[in-house]
């Protein structure tokens, strides 16, 4: 047993080193004075300053934030509905097709999704004259479509472990479905909805391939700007930008994980107290 533990432990260490060494190296070199992105030339925060003075980067970041907020909000609504439908309604016509459509964007190569969506928008423009041109609206529609799959997976697993007795009780007492949902169901699944939204938000803000296909002139998101710079080679400004983004995302994930764990604990404690109170 001992030998294997040592083996597993070293595999674990190797795996985490593989994950994190490049990231920490990049953060380290974002404070590099030298113009060369990988040769140390003393400490400096110059690149962070340059970053905030770069209008192109700021505009792209704002566009990405706007798209991510809107698409994550709508994708959370649709994804919650889809997850609920799949977990609750065992039989309805087209269920197989529906569950296939929900899960397909998760594994579909992005090139295919992106190209097919672009061709849809072009055909729509030909037929009904909308969308006038590719840009903010088309990117947002594309993002809603593929992020709602991730969210519905989260919501489906939440709904399938949900105890329905509370909702049934409310229903028996005459509450309408809409009221049952907003008063009983929604508060219970709220933590899952929050994590679904955050997942959708990060996936949207991070996407490059589908965005590039569905974007149009003038609509450059942050990943698109980063990609166009990175293609030309390493760049200390990108080191700074990347470190900043990673710091924000990492603290967001850590905070939401702690929040979620506490919400779960509180929920279990409440349940226990409720059971005790009934006895």
């Amino acid at each position: 047993m001992k030998q294997r533990s040592i083996f597993l432990l070293s595999c674990l260490l190797f795996g985490y080193a593989f994950f994190y060494i490049p990231i920490f190296s990049m953060i380290f070199f974002s404070f590099n004075k030298s113009r060369l992105a990988t040769v140390w030339g003393g400490f400096s925060t110059e690149w962070y300053g340059k970053l905030f003075a770069n209008d192109q980067v700021i505009a792209a970041a704002l566009l990405s934030l706007k798209i991510a907020l809107i698409s994550a909000t709508l994708a959370t609504i649709f994804g919650t509905m889809a997850g609920m439908a799949l977990a609750r309604f065992r039989r309805f016509s087209g269920r197989t097709l529906f569950s296939g459509l929900v899960s397909a964007p998760l594994i579909m190569p992005e090139v295919i999704t992106g190209l097919s969506m672009l061709l849809l928008f072009v055909s729509m423009r030909d037929l009904i004259g909308w969308p006038e041109r590719n840009g903010f609206a088309t990117i947002t529609i594309a993002h809603i479509t593929f992020t709602m799959s991730y969210i519905s997976v989260v919501m489906q697993s939440r709904f399938s472990t949900l105890d329905v007795s509370l909702e049934e009780a409310a229903q028996d007492l005459g509450a309408k479905p809409l009221k049952v949902f907003f008063v009983i169901t929604l508060p219970i699944v709220a933590p899952a909805i929050v994590s679904g939204f955050l997942l959708g938000f990060t996936i949207s803000i991070d996407d490059l391939v589908i965005t590039s296909f569905t974007s149009g002139p003038g609509a450059n998101t942050l990943p698109m700007v980063i990609f166009s710079k990175v293609r030309l080679g390493l760049n200390p400004e990108i080191n700074a930008l990347a470190s900043l983004i990673i710091a924000v995302v990492a603290s967001g994930v850590i905070i939401s994980t702690i929040y979620m764990a506490q919400a779960e604990k509180r929920r279990q404690r409440d349940m226990q107290m409720a059971v005790q109170a009934n006895e």
């Binding site: 593989f18 990988t38 992005e110 090139v111 061709l119 519905s152 991070d206 990943p223 980063i226 409720a274």
Partner: protein
Amino acid sequence: MAGIAASDSVPAGRVSEDAPVARGFRQWLDRKAWRDTIIATPFLWLLLFFLLPFLIIFAISLGQATIAQPPVEFAAEWPYGSLDNYRLIASDSLYIGGYLNSLIYASISTFFCLLIGYPMALAIARSRGSTRNLLLLLVILPFWTSFLLRVYAWMGLLSNNSWFNQGLTWIYNHSFNFGPPLNAIPMMNTDFAVILGITYSYLPFMVLPLYATLERLDLTLNEAAMDLGSRPVEGFKDITLPLSIPGIIAGSMLVFIPATGELVIPSLMGRADSPMIGRVINDEFSLNRDWPVASAIAVALLLMLVVPIMIYNHYQSRADVA
């Protein structure tokens, strides 16, 4: 739990004011409308923005390139389209080579993901309590951070004058190198870099489903086997490994399928002369403006992936049930 407290205080008489039949019917109608809304809204969205695009891409793959906006035309009479684009793909080594490159890069990367990911998932599944949560968080964290930036981070390490490359070069010059000393090991823009990039980016997709499967395994089986005299390695080989096959297959497909269409990693880290099929689609579409051929390549890629996708769905649902 305000809901429970409130339910105690509702007077029992108030509910039955209406005639029971009419109330039952209204309730049924309410529930049906609610149910239909819940199902129809996401369903219609996906039909319009996910299924319809695939029908369109298929239709365009049967057409012909032309100089117009959009640059596609169809024959004027039945059957309007032809399979010419597919014949072209099947006969041209550029496209066949692209598919082969994709399959090879994706298979090798999937293998490395499994090699690195399995022991990690096993170690996480065997750890306890808060350690396990921390280890899991450390796997999920890279999954949440931008994949483009993580690829960029590796580009920094692989570049010729980075400490990583220089360190490896030093080791190489002082141990295995019997020729003249190297200034740096060329690692960027190689097959190695692409496989490393894909392995790195997709590793969380391997670790998480594997962990989900391994975490549910009953350790008492291994203990029983050990009590009966089998060694840990045998216990692993005879019990843990066979029971984790659904997770292995789900994780492998989750890496392999999207990796075949990978576009960003090869264009940032790879060689220009051996494009993966994603690059070929992109070039055909945006450089040559040949939409029908680009569509046909995409449809053919999708057809090639149907079998892996079905395998994935099969094992995914089994992994869920188990």
